[in-house]
């Protein structure tokens, strides 16, 4: 996919941070509001897809690269399994929520009754949301990136054959 016009590129550069912030908000509030790792990851991946459409696959491939995205996907899976195994280590069972109620990171006890929501609750769940978010962003964006790059490559090859 080749580069689009300057108008499209400018508007994409303006809109991109807002979509990114919204996706990160959905991931970070996954334990309080609708959404979570998968949904926020899909939103962030669609923001990256906007950059890919506006700036072309060569530019995006040079900036990000599918090897780095593959590493990010592995990091997300590794953190998820590592947190689950830490539950086995600190508690009794796999996926034990060992941070809940510990007054450490995300360790507050939630308030009873209707309230505005306390970010610092949930124990291990927000961290797992972030791990799933990293994995989903890398996994969904690498599909689109490789498809666009391959289609661009094929088009160039076809042009060489004709010309």
């Amino acid at each position: 996919m080749s580069e689009m016009s300057k108008i499209v590129r400018t508007i994409a550069a303006i809109v991109f941070p807002f979509i990114m912030i919204y996706g990160l908000y959905v991931i970070a509030h996954g334990h309080l509001t609708p959404g979570g790792g998968f949904q926020g990851g899909a939103i962030v991946a669609s923001a990256c897809a906007l950059l890919l459409v506006a700036y072309g696959s060569m530019w995006t491939m040079r900036r990000i690269g599918e090897k780095r995205l593959s590493v990010f996907e592995s990091i997300g899976a590794f953190f998820f399994i590592a947190l689950a195994l830490l539950g086995l280590f600190f508690g009794a069972v796999f996926f034990n929520n060992f941070l809940a109620g510990s007054s450490f990171l995300f360790g507050d006890i939630p308030m009873v009754g209707s309230n505005t929501g306390d970010m610092n609750t949930g124990g291990v769940l927000p961290l797992m949301n972030f791990a799933v978010g990293i994995k989903v962003v890398a996994g969904l964006f690498v599909i689109i990136l490789v498809m666009a790059y391959a289609s661009n490559h094929m088009e160039k090859k076809r042009g060489e054959k004709q010309g």
Binding site: G35, A42, I144, S151, E155
Partner: protein, 83 residues
């Protein structure tokens, strides 16, 4: 009252966009019809009180699937051939 009408109108639009997606000869138009169907489906999920599914449907169905379909169409031909 308005919600009951929405429960009638939005499924009709979903079926209409699906029929458009099947019948259109222009593959790019069919991809856009699938995206519109997906967006209306996410609206229907939202008024059925499932905002979680609605966010997932809007992100994956309306944006990423459309991007994949349009990239695939760009690598082939835009118009479907007559049989």
């Amino acid at each position: 009252m308005l919600l009951e009408y929405a429960h009638i109108v939005i499924p009709i639009f979903i079926v209409a966009t699906s029929i458009f997606a099947v019948l259109l000869r222009d593959l790019l138009g069919a991809a856009v019809a699938v995206a519109a169907m997906s967006l209306l489906l996410s609206l229907e999920f939202y008024i059925l009180q499932a905002p979680d599914v609605a966010i997932a449907e809007a992100g994956v169905g309306a944006c990423l699937t459309t991007a994949i379909l349009i990239i695939a169409i760009k690598a082939t031909k835009r118009m479907e051939e007559e049989i």
